[in-house]
Symmetry: C2
Subunit: 392 residues, 2 copies
């Protein structure tokens, strides 16, 4: 186990009807709130009205900015920053999924930064300050409700970059799994794929003596998979969605990643799919993850045997470790299929002709600074092309 530091101060409120608490929770901390959201969903499910009622009942002043889309856009972030500065907003409240929350975090950073907020995502400047952010979650997936990261798409440049800082961990997050029971079927697959990937990025490591975090990763992976199948068969099952929702929070608040070197290559490779063709993040991850596994497992086959046995339940003969690993990966692919996910880039309309440029962007080569991605096995752009080919 490596030395580590962690601080997760988010006040998490979880369960039925919890959205009504938002006004009272914000009141001691906020003078003027930006209510930030996407499109019609929060209105359709009643959350928009409930939130406004609660803010008004608490006597809180607020302004609104809707229009967040999946893979949230920099242009709307700029608009939010302008609005907050003009209106003297001191607290951002995102209601929606990871996109609304990531957009809110970007606005929270931008309001406190004198230059162009994209500088921060482009690693040209650090985050020194941010407005506090609260969230009411409607989709379990991104984990942004308790994480320290935000991912924004610069639609003009065709780039999707993330930034991280303890300063953008939400101060308050309300998670009511009742909302999850209203999601379209495709969102179950996308969300679960993202949650699983957040765990995989931490789980697959060459760091040894991480039994506590190994065990927690495995327990949560198994539980999320089990309950994803239940929720897929029975979309209104509140209890199954509660397990997925809680799993999604812990998957990305970094308690599973402490003391171990994390990977993050799959996320890096996926961001290029989303930037290229606006692919749903979870859809891209489900295609790339098994391909990544097939490309890297030989570098530390014992880690993948552990995955196959402890997570995917492979049993019987272990005299051929490679067969055990491949059976584990195959079972993961079957699971993705069962919850409605695709397993090839072609099905996501990403042609082979795009592979090289996406790979070079993912590893930095395209921008003249090839750093590579991933820590389980460091991948250069040629490696990434091979992985894209494995799932073309």
């Amino acid at each position: 186990m490596q030395n580590f530091q962690i601080q997760t101060p988010t006040n998490l409120i979880f369960g039925k009807s919890t959205q009504h608490q938002i006004g009272g929770l914000l009141k001691p901390h906020a003078k003027k709130v930006l209510l930030h959201y996407g499109g019609g969903t929060v209105k359709k499910i009643g959350l928009y009205d409930d939130t406004k009622k609660s803010l008004i009942a608490a006597g809180l002043d607020f302004v609104e900015l809707g229009g967040v889309v999946p893979n949230p856009r920099l242009s709307l972030v700029y608009e939010g920053i302008e609005l907050c500065k003009k209106e003297g907003v001191d607290y951002i409240l995102a209601i929606g999924g990871g996109s609304a929350i990531d957009s809110a975090k970007a606005i929270a950073i931008g309001v406190c930064y004198d230059g162009d907020v994209w500088d921060i995502y482009d690693e040209k400047a650090p985050i020194k300050k941010a407005l506090p952010v609260a969230t009411i979650l409607t989709i379990p997936a991104a984990g942004s409700e308790m994480s320290l990261s935000s991912v924004i798409t610069n639609e003009k440049l065709g780039r999707k970059y993330g930034t991280s800082s303890d300063l953008i961990r939400p101060a308050i997050s309300i998670v009511n799994p009742e909302y999850f029971t209203n999601l379209p079927t495709s969102q179950l697959g996308y969300g679960v794929s993202d949650i699983i990937s957040h765990i995989f990025e931490r789980y697959f490591t060459n760091t040894v003596n991480c039994d506590i975090t190994d065990g927690m990763c495995e327990a949560i992976l198994k539980t999320v998979m089990k309950n994803a199948l239940i929720a897929h068969a029975e979309p209104t099952n509140y209890e199954a969605w509660s397990e997925i929702g809680l799993g999604g929070i812990i998957a990305h608040n970094n308690w599973l990643g402490i003391g171990r070197v994390q990977d993050w290559a799959s996320h890096g490779m996926e961001h290029e799919l989303s930037a290229y063709n606006d692919v749903a993040h979870g859809a891209g991850l489900a295609v790339l993850t098994p391909a990544w596994m097939k490309y890297v497992y030989k570098d530390n086959i014992n880690m993948f045997v552990q995955f196959a046995v402890n997570v995917m339940g492979v049993e019987g003969s272990f005299r051929d470790p490679e067969a055990v690993v491949l059976e584990g990966i195959s079972r993961l692919e079957d699971f993705y299929k069962k919850i409605g996910l695709k397993l090839s880039l072609a099905e996501l309309d990403i042609p082979e002709s795009a592979f090289e440029e996406m790979a070079k962007k993912a590893t930095g080569e395209f921008f003249g600074k090839e750093t590579g991605i991933g820590n389980f096995k460091r991948l250069m752009w040629q490696d990434v092309v091979e992985i894209y080919k494995l799932c073309k």
Copy 2:
């Protein structure tokens, strides 16, 4: 899963040589620090000197109060409160085990409370304010380094009571497992028994649909048990102690208890042993836990089958669930024995003649308000006597 709220803002710094960071970590938040500790151990292991050096290097003003003993005493708490008020202390730093930390929390509460701090432990007044507390941990056991609770012994009244509030979660905790490798052999058993009990108090529940927290409990129980045996055979094994130390933190920061009704009968019954005969808390828990299990398992046998199979590794025929459960409990007793723990009250010098009074104190009957203890099965004083008899 039940609705829940959790907030764990402790800044946790974990690993080798981390004690040297304390001055820098406190500097932005503290003007004058009370350095609070027990006896010779922190001096012998060099922590006392390292801490003072770090505080001085950071230019921090501080006063000292040593003398904390296991089952920390109210009289020293009073002394600490006086000292802090006289010296204008605004931050308490505990270096040591759970006793030093619990004592520090009591002082932190008492400085901000106008009446007798025992009122708060006696549930006559709520905690409304407390000074911030930082900790450097030397014994993994109590989990007080990230928990919201403190337990103090009123030696005049012969009572050991606890109090809880988010206001007494430590703001900063440093955990360096190197210190654990210096512990006397008996401390391994006491510490591990306490950690395991913190998980059991949350794990054994009649709440259903808690797969995420069930799985995390089971993973951490198995890991702590495995590494306890390693550390028992090889007391200087840093990696094994790291697993135990991290397990101890998560066991009691309440992430394992969210969304489920918790029990806490065993802790209640044990506090009477410590109050009666100054028994080490972990020693008392190891005696009581298997007896509690034998007394309550029939009330929800499936929960105990799950424990026997998922934690204690019982396999084979499940056609006699009771046999599965009893085998699980028997394996737990074997584990306790292997790490040097006793399994009877007689070995802790608690005579049968004391059972009735201890039981009546534990359930409140002695004080004219019999509330009972525990939630897995509510126990009245007669039940507690039966449990004491099962391990007499």
